[in-house]
Amino acid sequence: MVSTFAGGKHIESHKQLSRDAAIEPIPLPVEVVIPLSQHTGTICEPLVKKGDRVLTGTKIGQSSNVLSSCVHASISGTVRGIELCPHPVLGQCLAVIIDSDGRDEHDAAIQPRKAAERLSKEELLAIIKEAGIVGMGGAAFPSQVKLNPPKPVDTLIINGVECEPYLTCDFRLMLEKANEILQGIGLLKKTVNVSKVFIGIEEDKPEALRMMRNKIMEKHYPFTVSPLTAKYPQGAEKQLIKAVINREVPPGKLPFDAGVIVSNVGTACAVYEAVFLGKPLYERVVTVTGATVKKPANLNVRIGTRFGDLIRYCQGTTGAAGKIIMGGPMMGLAQFSEDVPVIKGTSGILVLSEAEARQEGEHPCIRCGRCVDVCPMGMIPSALSLCVESGRLDLSSRYNPRDCIECGACTYICPAKRRIVESIRLVKAVMK
């Protein structure tokens, strides 16, 4: 049976651009820029200084704070400096710049682990922390924190939905690294100590559904694959939980309050690599796509590679780029520059042409109610946008702006082209 949530909207996926492109490694970059903050939480202190030699996988930044995630060198070479550099999320961030020596020499600490199955929960959490693993779906929340909830949970849901249009990195990962993902899920299951594990995948990815089901049957994993309606935002945490196990996370609460932990397939794969191969998170799969990109691809990329290098590897664009987005078109972040580096949360680089990037003018709200229909949180988005437009932020609290997950479905659907979610972000920022 295919399940889903209330609201939402099917959006043209554009995934055909890159869904058949197998994950390919790209040549080593000549330099990488590794921001000391790539995650939700405290920025790392650098562990290296200008002139130091580092190896691939060498830890180069960490923080003593609990909510943080350490960072590693993604190539071997020399630290050119530690400077403020462009950052795809923060605008600017202190980053370690490494000049490659072209040898990609691995740190001695990277060793396959024997008897990984016998590791305890605490040992697993320590490995995940040392490997700098964060949620790979985009939010980049430190995994060792998420996987150690303050109250017991009974269910783990693996997010293989990838509901953002254009992106295909999770899809390719499920096809090409199914065994690794399933072993990683086994480790996650042990870490959070749950009995039930579900893998949510949209039904417009039948190959991934089949692959996961076959591998689970082959190896007798105690996991259930849940086919879900292809509808945006099916991959949003709360909507995924609702669809898969019909539980609702109460307003203002987190998934563990409903007894659930949600983790991305990419995260499961990274956990596998960290535990079994001893490999820290220094590379990830990035979808480089867009109608204007000459050869859209799914690339295995070292963290710190600049966006521009990846676009050029995909043979550039047919016309001038109008917009470069980190992530998908619905929730991704538009970039000022193609010099920003890939970070742990970079699932995709979407290039829109100048025509596609053109801004439409806003028109008056005609109260059509489409935003109310699509809102997966049961909000009245138009009312909030009117509060902002009329300068009556004092009225906004009755419309529960904090419930907004900023999926952008209201803004996508609005026939008057109103920038509704932008208004709600403003309300949330002012309310803080």
Partner: protein, 327 residues
């Protein structure tokens, strides 16, 4: 850091893609869906109808343009909303209406019904109905001078609802006159006296069906509106209870036009589904009351306008269920 950029990149808040639907596309589609009914009217009542339609649309657009100029706003006539208001106003007057009256109706619809509230999206009442009610109050004789089908020489003939009302209320002023007996088939096809756009149920349903397929309107308001009128008049509209001719009530007057094209106006109706059903039921009850016991034979326009006034209240209380809130 952006100095070495070859061409500036657009940086905006997400989402970065938009649906192809636009306000003007919706307005123009509704306009096109109303055309079949107008064509039937031209066929049944003659070419004079076309003059009325063109006058009403022209007056509405001209008024919109003038109001935008006076209010120093960018003219919004291309969004199709003024054209639609003009067309609906024309559909709400009798076929023999003088053009000056139609012009005045359209002017009031846009100027008083819409512009004074702040233009598109801000008006409380359906503009076309504001225009119609203004004309009803100001020119009651002209607004109830009906034309019999296929008799262009302005032979007046009572509408089916007027005939019903006359009998139901016991006034019997029409008794003894040479009454046309309308069959359901005549009513369905539009071969009866009435306003320009309301007569042909078939043509109206064709357009409404398309609007539903495109999801521009949903069943909630029309079905609850028409259903309530049907049930209400079935219960109270006959001799004794449960004996009313509800089919006559549904197919007569402006119910089909009102329920599918005017009660469904986004701006003046509720936004949530539950609210829309409540709105439709309210419209249905008021229509039924006016038709059976009110001073006029027809009550669709009053019912919609009254419910328009209640809409903000409905929207305040009929809200969607908050995700995660206890049921």
């Amino acid at each position: 850091m952006t100095e070495k950029q070859p061409a500036p990149l657009t940086v905006t808040s997400s989402p970065h893609i938009r649906s192809p639907e636009t306000t003007s596309k919706i307005m123009w589609t509704v306009f096109v869906c109303l055309i079949p009914s107008g064509l039937v009217s031209v066929y049944v009542f003659g070419f004079g109808v076309l003059g009325i339609i063109l006058t009403a649309v022209f007056a509405a657009v001209a008024t919109e343009w003038a109001c935008c100029r006076i209010q120093r706003k960018t003219p919004t006539i291309m969004d199709g909303s003024a054209v639609l208001t003009g067309l609906l106003l024309a559909y709400n007057v009798p076929p023999g209406s003088p053009l000056w009256m139609v012009f005045l109706g359209s002017f009031i619809a846009i100027a008083v019904g819409k512009a004074v509230f702040g233009g598109l999206g801000c008006n409380v009442f359906n503009p076309a109905l504001v225009g119609r009610v203004f004309l009803m109050a100001s020119f009651p004789v002209l607004m109830t001078r009906w034309q019999a089908p296929f008799k262009v020489d302005a032979v007046t003939a009572p509408t089916p609802l007027a005939i019903f009302k006359d009998g139901f209320s016991g006034t019997n002023v029409l008794a003894g006159t040479d009454l046309v007996q309308y069959s359901y088939r005549d009513l369905f096809l539009g071969l009866r006296g009435g306003c320009i756009g309301e007569a042909c149920v078939l043509a109206l349903l064709l357009g409404a069906g398309y609007l539903m397929i495109r999801k521009y309107i949903t069943w909630h308001i029309p079905l609850s509106f028409i259903g309530t009128v049907g049930v209400f008049t079935w219960i109270f509209g006959g001799k004794g209870l449960f004996g009313g001719d509800f089919l006559l009530q549904i197919f007569s007057g402006g119910l089909i036009l009102g329920a599918f094209y005017m009660a469904t106006d986004y701006v003046t109706g509720p936004m949530t589904r539950q609210g829309q059903i409540l709105f439709g039921i309210g419209c249905g009850i008021i229509t039924g009351i006016v038709r059976l016991w009110g001073g006029y034979p027809e009550g669709v326009s009053y019912s919609i306008l009254l419910m328009n006034a209640v809409t903000p209240l409905i929207d305040r209380f009929m809200v969607p269920r908050r995700f995660g809130e206890e049921r």
